[in-house]
């Protein structure tokens, strides 16, 4: 989230699309309700009428997988009706930037497409530069090659009639949503979006979100209170686990994992340190080498020296052009590439798309380590449906771990708040905290690789700094301090003197010469000489809900990021009622300073009080090399603007916007278990997955609890009354839901919450299932809905398309 949960109360209009926080993030809805009490409007857009919809001022449905068409229509409406916030758009976004003539878009394809590689050459989507190497701009937004004019042209095709024909949403409903939401384009008004997997789990997932980001920028909703782009993160620490980058493509703090072609630290830093010739751009990623070197110092401690490139060689390099994501990983496992596999607090046999493929893959391993609180479909896969233990060689180590109240440490919520958890009780019997398991396994491995003289490349293992225990027990404070970072010798930075062993006060003090460590620069400032910031408990008594003294928030306790866009060029808040920051000329003894939230950099406003430009200022979007938010996003794999394409499995054979039915760069796989079926009479209905309040993810933690299981005991499939009639299925009947990849048994819930869609003159039915169940427990509770979902992914993130696929439903 760019903003945070409490801030939702400041919103004038909340759009919740493809998500159901009233059910899945119930306490967040407290702040939606609070916004509504204060006059804010709630819009719910979802294929299914949900608990969230029941509280909305207005609800309408769309067919799963058509969000870009729906939102593309909103962009057209905003531009046609002059609902955009012109000053914000012209000054703070790249709408004024001129694009080179090589950029083009024809019949569903952007320029630079290579049909053999199924890839775009993104260099064709560049900005025109002046003699100084700075992007050319037309702040009047009139130049035919400026982004603003290109966006107008691109989305002019998203008229109400076409959008309605493909989404199945009635025209008048589209207009109503567009009108209500775009009213937040006025100065002082803020609209926000709450979204989650309903947008990400598509082959166009990133572009779903980009379309909304474009809308938020056109309306001036980024950086302001009650605005932002707010992902409803589903796991208690999925924000933190992503920040610390348990992901193949990034190192902690969103640094890049090096490719093989980057053979030295210098080449690596050069490649990923962006440059700008614009003196008014902060270009914050220009600090990249300070963060990468500090990270290497945390990895390898005193063993990382300037002479050995701080241990850069010791860390693995990816093959250029190759991906190693979740779908790739399980594809490689299915192909028999791995002998060993770790699964920490996760249940891929039920949670991943095309779960049958995953389950077969697990049987090809020599060994697996499964760490969990309860038995689960992954650890016990060898005795699951269709498996014969006598034929499966995989050794399995199932290790019992502590629950969150049986250990100490921090987690980071969706609003980027890092909050400390204390230990309340001991784990039962032989269960251990994961930190202790990791600590001991690491020690055991270091022992093995130190034992003999000539091991296979022992350097990274034996040199890994692994001293996070106190009296033999994992000590989360030691690790938390290392994540923040230390000064490793006495030095002076920015006029301040620090001693060896001092904790670094913030990432502005990190160095690229090995004199500082920080295991994650984004968290530098979280645990300082002043103490553990995540454990703070000072609540805000008045104000807009920032709660600057409660816990800690990255970066540097900034509660609303991009907040320099919440003020005009003089530093005055656009919204006087909900100021995030404001420039106070009398602050700091008359030198002037920002008050309110921690600003996105302390530079003064763009204009002096007399209207003259201030050369010391910086543009507000400091993480972008040119300081402007990206309405035109040339870094994406599938285009600088979004475009409607159908899901890999879809119920139509014609895309009204172009001859490209599906994304030309969507990720699909080719084993005999990767089967995709579109417009196949055997699988005529759209399927989608979702959650219920009483269970969590694959249900590993909740299926074992009596209250929760009693409330939601088994797998069900929701369908419309019309579909029930068509298939002779009554409410409560046992049915079989089947896709090209698998089938599950479920109880039919025949309901008016789902309605058939009218799509291009035909009736399209949609069904939905929760994915919380699995064969291990309870008996007859049903198996995972992910047995149905396809292993197809987004070309940017490679997140699987589990929200729109094709199924059949029949009486069981």
């Amino acid at each position: 989230m760019t903003n945070h949960w409490i801030d939702i109360r400041n919103s004038d209009c909340i759009l919740i699309m493809g998500s159901n926080p009233a059910e899945n993030h119930p306490v967040s809805f407290k702040w939606v309700t609070e916004a509504m009490k204060r006059g804010g409007k709630l819009l719910s857009v979802d294929p299914r009428f949900t608990r969230t919809s029941s509280k909305a001022d207005f609800y309408t449905a769309l067919r799963s997988g058509t969000d870009i068409a729906f939102l593309g229509g909103m962009i057209k409406y905003i531009l046609d009706n002059h609902k955009y916030f012109k000053e914000y758009v012209a000054e703070y976004t790249n709408a004024a930037f001129l694009v080179t003539d090589s950029y083009d878009f024809k019949d569903g394809l952007f320029s630079g497409y290579d049909p053999d590689k199924k890839e775009y050459d993104k260099s064709q989507w560049a900005f025109s530069k002046d003699a100084n190497g700075v992007s050319k701009r037309d702040r009047t937004l009139q130049d035919p090659r400026c982004v603003f004019q290109l966006i107008k042209k691109h989305y002019s095709r998203y008229d109400l009639e076409t959008v309605s024909s493909i989404t199945g949403t009635p025209r008048e409903d589209l207009q109503k949503v567009y009108k209500m939401y775009s009213a937040t384009g006025r100065q002082g008004k803020a609209g926000t979006i709450m979204y989650a997997m309903g947008w990400t789990q598509h082959t166009v997932g990133v572009q779903n979100i980009r379309t909304m980001a474009i809308i938020q920028l056109l309306l001036g909703n980024m950086g302001v209170a009650g605005g932002g782009v707010n992902a409803l993160r589903g796991e208690s620490n999925v924000q933190g686990s992503t920040d610390h980058c348990i992901l193949y493509h990034i190192w902690p703090g969103y640094l890049k994992t090096p490719n093989a072609s980057l053979q030295t630290l210098a080449a690596y830093n050069e490649k990923f340190t962006p440059k700008t010739n614009d003196p008014l751009s902060a270009n914050w990623w220009g600090n990249y080498p300070k963060y990468s070197v500090s990270l290497l110092k945390s990895f390898f401690g005193s063993k990382a020296t300037k002479a050995n490139d701080f241990g850069y060689d010791w860390l693995p390099k990816l093959e250029d052009g190759k991906t190693y994501s979740w779908l790739d990983l399980f594809d490689a496992m299915y192909r028999g590439q791995f002998t060993g596999f770790f699964s920490w607090g996760q249940n891929p046999a039920a949670s991943g798309a095309n779960a049958n493929k995953t389950r077969v893959g697990l049987a090809k391993l020599d060994w697996m380590v499964n760490v969990n609180i309860f038995d689960n479909e992954t650890g016990s896969f060898w005795k699951g449906p269709g498996m014969d233990p006598k034929k499966i060689r995989t050794e399995v180590f199932m290790l019992p771990c502590a629950t969150s109240v049986e250990k100490e440490g921090s987690i980071t919520n969706s609003g980027r708040w890092m909050q400390w958890r204390y230990k309340a009780a001991n784990p039962p019997a032989q269960a251990w905290p994961d930190g202790q398991i990791l600590m001991k396994l690491g020690e055991e491995l270091q022992y093995l690789y130190k034992e003999k003289e000539k091991e296979v490349y022992p350097d990274p293992i034996v040199n890994l700094k692994w001293d996070y225990a106190t009296h033999g027990e994992f000590d989360s404070h030691k690790m938390a301090k290392e994540i923040n970072g230390y000064f490793l010798r006495d030095i002076s930075v920015k006029g301040k003197h620090f001693k060896k062993g001092d904790l670094v006060p913030s990432f502005a003090y990190l160095q690229a010469d090995g004199s500082t460590s920080s295991a994650n620069w984004l968290y530098c400032n979280s645990y300082t000489n002043k103490g553990n910031m995540a454990a703070r408990r000072k609540k805000e008594k008045s104000g807009i809900g920032l709660n600057l003294g409660w816990a800690w928030c990255w970066p540097v306790n900034r509660r609303i990021i991009y907040n320099r866009a919440s003020v005009d060029k003089y530093g005055k808040p656009w919204d006087k009622e909900h100021p995030v920051i404001a420039w106070d000329p009398n602050a700091k003894g008359g030198k002037g300073g920002w008050v309110g939230d921690v600003p996105d950099g302390g530079w003064p406003p763009m204009l002096n009080a007399d209207g003259t430009p201030n050369p010391k200022t910086k543009y507000p979007f400091i993480m972008k090399p040119e300081g402007h938010a990206h309405v035109f996003g040339p870094g994406r794999a599938d285009g600088p603007f979004s475009e409607h394409y159908e899901p890999i499995e879809c119920p139509v054979n014609k895309n009204p916007f172009s001859n490209q039915l599906v994304s030309p760069v969507a990720v699909i796989y080719s084993t005999n278990m990767d089967i995709y079926k579109s417009c196949d009479p055997k699988y005529p209905f759209v399927g989608s997955t979702y959650r219920v309040c009483e269970h969590w993810q694959t249900g590993v933690m909740t299926r074992w609890q009596p209250w929760l299981l009693e409330a939601e005991p088994q797998l069900f499939v929701e369908m419309s009354k019309e579909l029930g009639k068509l298939k002779g299925i009554n409410n409560g009947d046992k049915v079989v839901v089947e896709s090209a990849r698998g089938k599950v048994e479920a109880v039919a819930v025949v309901t008016i919450r789902l309605r058939p869609f009218q799509v291009q003159g035909s009736t399209v039915h949609q069904v939905g299932l929760p994915y919380h169940y699995g064969w291990v427990y309870p008996k007859d509770g049903g198996d995972s809905a992910n047995l149905l979902t396809p292993s197809a992914g987004d070309p940017n993130t490679r997140i699987p398309e589990t929200k729109a696929f094709m199924v059949n439903v029949k009486k069981g």
Partner: protein
């Protein structure tokens, strides 16, 4: 009034919850006046018992990422058995409220179906056997070493130094603490793993 309960991490100010503790039954009673049937004496007695004789520890709910504050009550001996988990009224996000899952948290912790000892399934076996941590960790380390060493790639086909392990993969976990998350990626990367993923990708 004797306040034997201790809440770690609390601020110095008197919070709403402290206020209830200090003012005791009268405040709790006032909150339910006007409901008709008066259940006040029994309810407030139970509440007092918990507040007087339990140790309180603050935590954050382990399910979704709203990050609701909870208060865990344990027996007086300290890190004993959880006797209650409830919403933290002083927490600014949830202000004491919890969803159905959060409200049932004590059933996650006190659950006789939890795994309580390391288990091992041998090749081609149809059952689990209990094993010790020592045996499990030393055996896992040997398996890791064998797989890593057999699949370790010092240089790729182009002769570039890559120092990676192609034969082991790891997933998880967004359910762990930040400090543990950092350790997972560090340990796996030190082994040369490139297939390192978790819930954020799905």
């Amino acid at each position: 009034m004797g306040l034997s309960s201790e809440k770690k991490g609390g601020g110095m100010n008197v919070t709403r919850r402290d206020f209830f503790k200090i003012t005791g039954t009268s405040a709790a009673g006032a909150a339910i006046l006007g409901l008709g049937l008066n259940l006040k004496p029994i309810k407030s007695h139970a509440q007092t018992l918990k507040l007087r004789f339990a140790k309180e520890t603050t935590s954050i709910c382990c399910y979704c990422a709203v990050g609701c504050g909870v208060i865990c009550s344990t027996g007086e001996s300290g890190a004993g058995k959880i006797i209650n988990i409830e919403g933290d009224p002083d927490h600014p996000v949830n202000e004491g409220s919890l969803c159905a899952k959060g409200a049932a948290l004590s059933q996650l912790v006190n659950n006789d179906r939890r795994l309580t000892t390391p288990l091992y399934r041998a090749p081609y076996s149809d059952k689990w056997q209990k094993v010790s941590w020592d045996w499990a960790l030393s055996t896992i380390a040997k398996r890791v070493k064998k797989s890593r060493d057999a699949s370790f790639e010092h240089k790729n086909a182009k002769g570039q130094v890559v120092n990676r392990t192609n034969g082991i993969a790891s997933v998880g976990s967004a359910a762990l603490d930040n400090e543990e998350c950092w350790m997972i990626q560090a340990l796996m990367r030190s082994l040369g793993l490139v297939y390192i993923e978790h819930q954020a990708r799905i």
